[in-house]
Amino acid sequence: MEEKIYDVVIVGGGPAGLAAAIGAKEAGAGDVIIIERDSSLGGILEQCIHPGFGLKYFGEELTGPEYARRFIQKAKECGVEYKLGTMVLSIGEHSVTGINPTDGVITIRGRSIVLAMGCRERTRGALMTPGARPAGIYTAGAAQRLINRQNIMVGKRIVILGSGDIGMIMARRLTLEGAEVLAVVEIMNYTTGLIRNRVQCLEDFGIPLLLSHTVVEIKGNNRVEGVVVAEVDPATRKPIPGTEKLYECDTLLISCGLIPENELTREFGIKLHPVTGGPEVNQFMQTEVEYIFACGNVVHVNDLVDNVTEESLTAGRSAARYARGELKKPEQEIRVTPGNNVRYVCPQRLYPGAPATLFFRVTEPAKKVTLSVLADSKPVITKKLATVNPGEMQRVDLSAEALSGVSTVLVEVR
């Protein structure tokens, strides 16, 4: 039998993979397949039953499963194939290899490959939180899966370390389910998640938010019996001796950031960006390997799924174009670098002479600032911004003209 070659093979069937598949089909791709490890499409959205999705993209407020459903239906309508329950174990030359219970080991070939594996959560171990190692310590997302998909309640008295969005959303969810959330503890002097979540998930329910605090010890030999919380010096983020306070709780949730899931990417030999943790891409979401595209949280962690959708549609369209022989690597690419108070900019490279949307995050919160984009040191965009927060991704659109005949782009906020 002749081995089938897909135009586009997509690893991951969450919001990024679904939008990439639709984008590819819209751009005229032939056979497109999504490989998904879970038993259904939708990815993390399936456990995000809270509202707040789609405000930008659809102009209405949807829950995660509803947002996912629109894309799942669309993907099915436009003939996207998919394989569920299949874990991709490696990426090869124009191919991915995975396993599932029915096919065993399968290798699927594609002219283009789109990486849409999403991200994982930073753990207690990575944070090096000292103390005992009892039961009752969960990442916020694991607790969310248990509660919203598996019908399993994690605890009664909860402390949440980190003010990431999932942590704050779980604070509300657990409170509504009758648990007592004693505090959300954040080492920074600002919430790392969205303001909307701080208001509607914490303030609505009177849940204390302890900024510039952290957990310095976990107590309990079997189940969590408490956590010791201390204030930190905002400059050094080191605990201040004498400020320790014990919170008696049975559960500690950790919501301290997400890390792009790039084991497959790295194994294949694609370099990861030291700040984003994802592969570098250009405005077509094309990685350093010209037939491999990447989108969504695997590239950089987004705070809004709407942005993921947008850049994933681009990735899918670009993958379709590559499959029909376009988008070969240009001889010269434009380097994009973060300047003052900019932590990173994505994409990191640009095709000259094509419009681009730059997403970036600031390093520090600031008010009444000026965003400047400089092409070869000449300002091409200057914009006033009322507020910037590391938790809220910023975007700026560049025209094709602005990117013609230049070799560097710098983004800065002052």
Partner: protein, 480 residues
């Protein structure tokens, strides 16, 4: 009343090894273990090294048994399907003071009959370990220092013992020993039962002093000495290929860095004397001291690549020293104390020594004719070729369902871990057997799934699924 020939208290490394050795004889053997899983307390958290005994105090029982144990591991690892690798160790000297100590260390190794110890120049050391501090002046190579999966070692010894007829009473604590007419007769347990035994072996590790007190032989006491460790991601940029040991000072053996048998990097331990035998907390100070010390040897080590930190307790005997003893005035009782950081290595030779001691004391022991020396391990999916994987999935579909993505662990392996001899009944017990949850996401992805698999396979409600011991229930029940 239950009756057995030999009763072993404790299913840690030493207790399990004695059970494994005794299982070769036509004896009724029972192991009583307070924990719900075999593997003990102190045997679970250590540096996972099979030592040569090069630095033991020459002439001691510890030297004799550790030195004797090391060569046994090739066959044991093969027979019992235990991940084991003879990586070797180096002892690099970075200061003149350290360099001057090398001859004495080599001489000590010779006294311990570790004759294969070698001197290496700085150039040779840097060729072996490019990550070493380039200021290295020279050092020693100890070729037979090895790494092992410490959980699987103890589990495999216990499993093989059980497969050969040894009874294990798990979750059962010995609360007393009945002595009459100068001999031990039975143990009392927290389940309110008495188990009669002709021989009782105290292999209670950290708690051996408590057990000894039941028969009035507590001429020593045990204090815990905490050792904290870091485990680094398999993908950390700065790795070593073999065990890198520090030159010991007068006060401490120091902190090492080594690969683990599964490809992570292990850094530690501290040495902190405590009183509380349950204090396994990690501390910011302890971890900071490891970072400082290890960077002197391997400056590029990236400790922010840590995926977890843990601490283990060594059983510090006071007065010091490995001691294995039978008493003229207490027939049938064997007391084992002073098994410390070399205990994992020494367990198998301690077992041989104890069994020989029992036979010499008159215990009737005939070899079994149907003893099976082999154990089949759980298939390690992560290390298989695609062909092997396809074959396994074709035989059993559950091997096509990846539960732990970091360590590539399948549902099939987890079910095997639960249903085999002395099977796993908790999340940690599963983790020790198949590594689900040991990777960089530390169970963030697989814990919810493993909880459901354990509940389903054991036919228990989710709220009864534990992390480890009773009281460590993971969740509080169904939401609706």
């Amino acid at each position: 009343m239950k009756q057995t020939d030999v009763l072993i208290i404790g299913a840690g490394a030493v207790g399990s090894a004695i059970a494994w050795e005794l299982a070769k004889y036509r004896l009724d053997v029972t192991v009583v273990e307070k924990n719900e899983d075999v593997g003990g307390d102190i045997s679970r958290a250590n540096s996972a090294i099979i030592h040569t005994g090069y630095d033991a105090a020459p002439g001691t029982l510890e030297s004799q048994l550790v030195v004797a144990a090391n060569p046994m591991y090739d066959k044991i690892a093969a027979d019992l399907d235990i991940p084991f690798e003879r990586t070797g160790a180096i002892l690099p000297a970075f200061t003149d003071e350290q360099f001057e100590k090398l001859p004495a260390l080599k001489h000590k190794a010779m006294l311990n009959r570790v004759y294969d110890i070698e001197y290496l120049t700085a150039k040779e050391l840097l060729e072996l370990e490019p990550a070493l501090n380039p200021e290295v002046k020279g050092g020693l190579l100890i070729p037979r220092e090895s790494i092992i999966d410490p959980f699987i070692l103890v589990i495999a010894l216990a499993e093989n013992a059980a497969d050969n007829g040894v009874h294990f009473l798990l979750g059962t604590k010995v609360t007393g020993i009945i002595v009459s007419e100068g001999a031990v007769r039975a143990v009392k347990t927290d389940k309110g039962e008495e188990i009669r035994a002709k021989y009782i072996i105290n292999a209670a590790g950290l708690y051996c002093d408590e057990i000894a007190s039941y028969v009035g032989k507590n001429k020593y006491y045990v204090t815990p000495r905490k050792g904290q460790f870091y485990i680094l991601d398999k993908k950390t940029s700065c790795k070593v290929n073999r065990i890198v040991l520090p030159i010991p000072t007068k006060t401490t053996k120091g902190k090492l860095i080594c690969p683990t048998i599964h490809g992570n990097i292990l850094v530690g331990p501290t040495a902190e004397d405590l009183l509380d035998k349950t204090d396994k907390r990690t501390t910011a100070e302890g971890l900071a001291s490891i970072a400082e010390d290890v960077r002197k040897m391997v400056p590029g080590v990236v400790l922010r690549d840590t995926i977890t930190q843990y601490s283990g307790l060594r059983a510090q005997r006071n007065p010091e020293g490995l001691n294995i003893e039978m008493y003229d005035d207490l027939a049938g009782y064997v007391d084992i104390s002073g098994v410390r950081s070399t205990g994992l290595t020494g367990s198998v030779s301690i077992a041989k020594y104890v069994v020989d001691m029992l036979i010499e004391s008159g215990m009737k022991a005939e070899f079994k004719t149907n003893h099976n020396p082999r154990r089949r391990g759980i298939p390690c999916f992560a290390e298989m070729s695609d062909e092997e994987r396809a074959e396994l999935i074709a035989r059993d579909k559950r091997y096509g369902n990846i539960i732990c993505r970091c360590e590539t662990v399948t549902e099939g392996q987890i079910c095997d871990a639960i249903h085999r001899t002395l099977g796993a009944r908790s999340l940690d017990a599963v983790k020790r057997r198949v590594r689900a949850g040991m990777g960089r996401c530390q169970g963030g992805f697989c814990t919810p799934k493993v909880i459901e698999i354990i509940a389903r396979e054991l036919g228990i409600p989710v709220e009864e699924v534990r992390k480890s011991e009773p009281g460590s229930e993971l969740v509080i029940g169904n939401l609706r």
